[in-house]
């Protein structure tokens, strides 16, 4: 395309007026020059020239078929349009080159100074990575340690008997069974277990007459009071 452009320009005419004679002259000149230059470029030129010659012949010889002629003209027009476009591009390239080019004609500061300071003192904790890190840690920890059921520290009947025996004497009147539960029963499970143990202990002591039990209504509070019998203290 470069070559065609040069060609068209050197002729100072449009394609329709390209002289076959001068084309042949240039043809020969290029072949001559091909000895000195890169062969593939010369080959390029030859292809172009050959195509141009074909095009020219199309335009010169009235075609047998109409569409042949048309395609010849169309091709010529398309080519002319592309040549014009390429001419524009070349002119622009030259225009750009004629400008003071940075680093060629005008020079920027050779040793620019940077006043940018990077402050890396702050750390950032993002919720996403934080939470992920926690999950990963927990999973790894769970995997690493074998499962060991936690030993429950439940209030046994023996414990309840001992506590009832200690406390029941100091209480003059009816007292609810809950009063005999041990302190610091945080977990509901432990609390229910202690309640059951205490109930069993109270029934056991009531059997021996050491305490008396009373319940006013179903599911009502169970009341306890010192009985007349001796208190068997468990060892």
């Amino acid at each position: 395309m470069d070559l065609l452009l040069d060609l068209a320009r050197s002729q100072k005419v449009d394609l329709a007026k390209i002289s076959i004679l001068s084309l042949v002259d240039q043809f020969l000149a290029v072949i001559e020059g091909a000895k000195r230059v890169r062969l593939e470029l010369a080959a390029d030129w030859l292809v172009m020239a050959a195509w141009l010659t074909w095009l020219k012949s199309r335009l010169l010889v009235p075609a047998a078929a109409d569409d042949d002629l048309e395609s010849g003209q169309e091709a010529a027009e398309a080519l002319a349009a592309r040549l014009r476009e390429m001419n524009v591009i070349r002119t622009l390239a030259a225009w750009l080159n004629a400008r003071p080019v940075l680093g060629q004609d005008v020079f920027p500061r050779g040793a620019p100074e940077s006043h940018i300071e990077y402050d890396r003192s702050r750390i950032v904790i993002e919720a996403g990575p934080f939470v992920r890190a926690y999950l990963d840690a927990i999973r790894r920890g769970t995997k690493a340690s074998p499962y060991t059921p936690r030993a429950l520290t439940l209030w046994t009947v023996q414990d309840a008997l001992r506590r009832l025996a200690d406390l029941v004497g100091s209480l003059p009147d009816w007292t609810t069974l809950e009063q005999f539960l041990p302190d610091h029963m945080d977990s509901p499970t432990e609390r229910r277990a202690a309640m059951a143990s205490t109930l069993l202990a109270s029934l056991e002591m009531a059997r021996g007459g050491a305490v008396r039990l009373r319940q006013e209504e179903a599911f009502g509070p169970i009341l306890v009071r010192r009985g007349s019998g001796d208190i068997d203290r468990p060892e």
């Binding site: 000149a29 524009v88 070349r90 030259a94 225009w95 006043h115």
Partner: protein
């Protein structure tokens, strides 16, 4: 000394406060230090609020006019550059990169006019394949950059010029490029293409 009326034309309506020497020093230091063009907005950030950055840059430009180093527009800002007339002497001691070869310049011109443009389109316009070397030399100088993809089969990459392109050729923006219509009228061939035989076919001169 900065309030010399000859040196500081104020084309804009009177700014809140005349640029003082302090503002000029600061602007000078900022533009001098920066490798990139400095915008009026960038300057305004470090100036006192009641001083107009544009006025300061205008005063600075006037102060440097005719000196060895001049303030010029580049991209959407300004930067200092050595004066054009000193180039022949400076080139003797400052290393200059090779000029872009003609093929690269033409490719660049096509991208400038047709952006965003795909590689096949560039090749179609030039009528020849775009060499890897040319593409890479333009990319390396950061004169062109990928600008997304065209939503067509194969989704080819689109190319466009960069802000470095503007800086490189001392342009304020792309509108400073000559209009295509003006170039079409221009029939005289540029002097870089003197003969029928294109430079590519000339025996290598170097």
């Amino acid at each position: 000394m900065s309030d010399d009326p000859e040196q500081t034309p104020q084309p804009t309506p009177a700014p809140p406060r005349e640029p003082d020497e302090d503002a000029l020093r600061l602007a000078e230091a900022l533009v001098f230090a920066s490798a990139e063009p400095v915008t009026a907005r960038g300057l305004a950030r470090i100036l006192p609020d009641d001083i107009d950055a544009e006025a300061v840059l205008a005063a600075l430009r006037a102060r440097y006019a005719g000196r060895g180093v001049e303030l010029v527009d580049a991209g959407n800002g300004v930067m200092f550059r050595s004066a054009l007339d000193l180039a022949p002497r400076l080139r003797k001691v400052i290393e200059t990169p090779r000029r872009l070869p003609r093929v690269a310049m033409e490719t660049l011109a096509i991208v400038a006019y047709h952006q965003p443009v795909t590689r096949p389109e560039i090749e179609h316009i030039r009528g020849t394949a775009l060499s890897q070397q040319t593409l890479e030399s333009l990319l390396e100088l950061n004169l062109i950059a990928p600008k997304g993809r065209r939503e067509s089969p194969g989704r080819p990459t689109l190319w466009g010029t960069t802000s470095e392109f503007l800086t490189h050729f001392g342009l304020k923006d792309l509108r400073e490029l000559p209009r295509r219509e003006d170039l079409l009228l221009e029939t005289a061939p540029p002097k870089s293409v003197p003969e029928v035989l294109p430079p590519d076919l000339q025996p290598p001169s170097d």
